[in-house]
């Protein structure tokens, strides 16, 4: 009975949303195919006129990354990304606070002996994840990806290696890495304030669009984000590894 009601309610809401979003004025607004702001981002002429032709080899554009999404995330809206990283930090810190209001010490609960397959494969998979993670993070200004997926891959490699060796990452080192990365992000922002007159403004020679060594500040920020995300995720896994299983504790 309850499930039937749920089916009807969710189907009704979806039908209402579908009618509202896919017909009438809302559809004309959402799917008009026009976007003044988005096109200005694509042409790189938000603050002033761009050259008549933009393409690989262009110099001196107002935002250097070839990837427009990266240009928006780290250049035009870099301050917003600082807030995003802060939210991620707050969420992981909140999870640690909720689970361990009192200080706990000791071994991870699920510290079973690693299997042969895990111990044999872990170094190679770690190497692969390490290289691919850094490559994705460092190519964030040219290709899809960037610091967030790169950092997730680094964290996966770290957790894999540590679970294969049976040790756990040092909380102090992870906190140090995370704090240093967060500090560096703000330091890059302050450097922009000092040299260019606004927080997180990109300083230095932006290089040739499409080259690997272009947009150096974007590259630096994505590297910082990758390190910060990997430290945060490894810390989250470490926190969860210390949680005893509450559902089996009270079993007879």
């Amino acid at each position: 009975m309850n499930k039937l009601l749920a089916v009807f309610v969710s189907a009704g809401v979806v039908a209402l949303l579908g009618v509202f979003l896919l017909t009438g004025p809302a559809r004309d607004q959402l799917f008009s195919g026009r976007s003044e702001l988005g096109d200005a981002f694509s042409r790189r002429d938000v603050r002033g006129p761009a050259p008549d032709q933009v393409g690989p080899g262009s110099r001196g554009l107002e935002s250097a990354p070839a990837n427009t999404v990266t240009a928006i995330v780290l250049d035009y809206r870099g301050f917003d990304t600082l807030g995003e990283v802060t939210v991620l930090f707050a969420a992981v810190a909140g999870a640690g606070l909720v689970l361990f209001a009192r200080r706990r010490r000791g071994q991870a609960v699920s510290a079973r002996r690693p299997s042969l397959i895990l111990t044999a494969a872990a170094p190679w998979v770690f190497l692969f994840l390490f290289v691919v993670g850094f490559a994705i993070a460092l190519h964030g200004h040219l290709t899809p990806g960037g610091g967030f997926p790169g950092g997730a891959l680094l964290a996966a490699g770290l957790v894999l290696l540590l679970s294969a060796t049976g040790r756990e990452p040092s909380a102090r080192r992870l906190h140090l890495l995370e704090g240093l990365a967060g500090f560096s992000f703000v330091a890059v922002g302050v450097a922009g304030l000092v040299w260019k007159g606004s927080f997180l403004a990109h300083f230095g020679d932006s290089g040739v669009l499409g080259d690997f060594w272009s947009a150096p500040v974007t590259m630096l920020l994505y590297l910082i984000i990758a390190l910060k995300v990997s430290a945060e995720l490894a810390n989250a896994v470490r926190t969860l590894a210390h949680v005893e299983d509450p559902t089996t504790k009270e079993a007879p």
Partner: protein, 122 residues
């Protein structure tokens, strides 16, 4: 071929499956998964609003004229969804931690049928 209706209906279906998951059970993990599905549906829909016929991936790989119409899709929804995915990861982490707390207090992940809640509701 116009992809908008197909992708839009898929996005709405994902949202609807999530909504059904929220309504049809009392398991906390089920709720967290359901909210994740709803988020995915919303993200797909947001990315879709940036689509335009013939629009290229918003990465500059060839020269284009800045005086004519833009050859790219609208990059703004893609950038916003990038943020949305990361925030979704954070909220899911926190929700899972709260689920562990609930399991510690009650011994299971079922929610909403506690006797003290029933008293409040009556």
């Amino acid at each position: 071929m116009n992809v908008v209706p197909i992708v839009a209906i898929s996005a709405l279906l994902l949202f609807g499956i999530g909504l059904y998951g929220l309504w049809s059970g009392r398991n906390v993990l089920r709720w967290i998964l359901a909210v994740g599905l709803m988020e995915t549906g919303i993200n797909v829909f947001l990315v879709l609003t940036g689509w335009r016929p013939g629009g290229a991936v918003p990465i500059i790989t060839g020269a284009f004229s800045t005086r004519g119409p833009s050859p790219f899709i609208d990059p703004v929804p893609s950038a916003l969804v990038l943020t949305s995915i990361v925030i979704g990861l954070g909220t899911t982490t926190l929700a899972l931690a709260l689920a562990v707390l609930h399991a510690r207090a009650h011994g299971d992940l079922e929610c909403g049928d506690d006797p003290e809640n029933a008293e409040v509701l009556e």
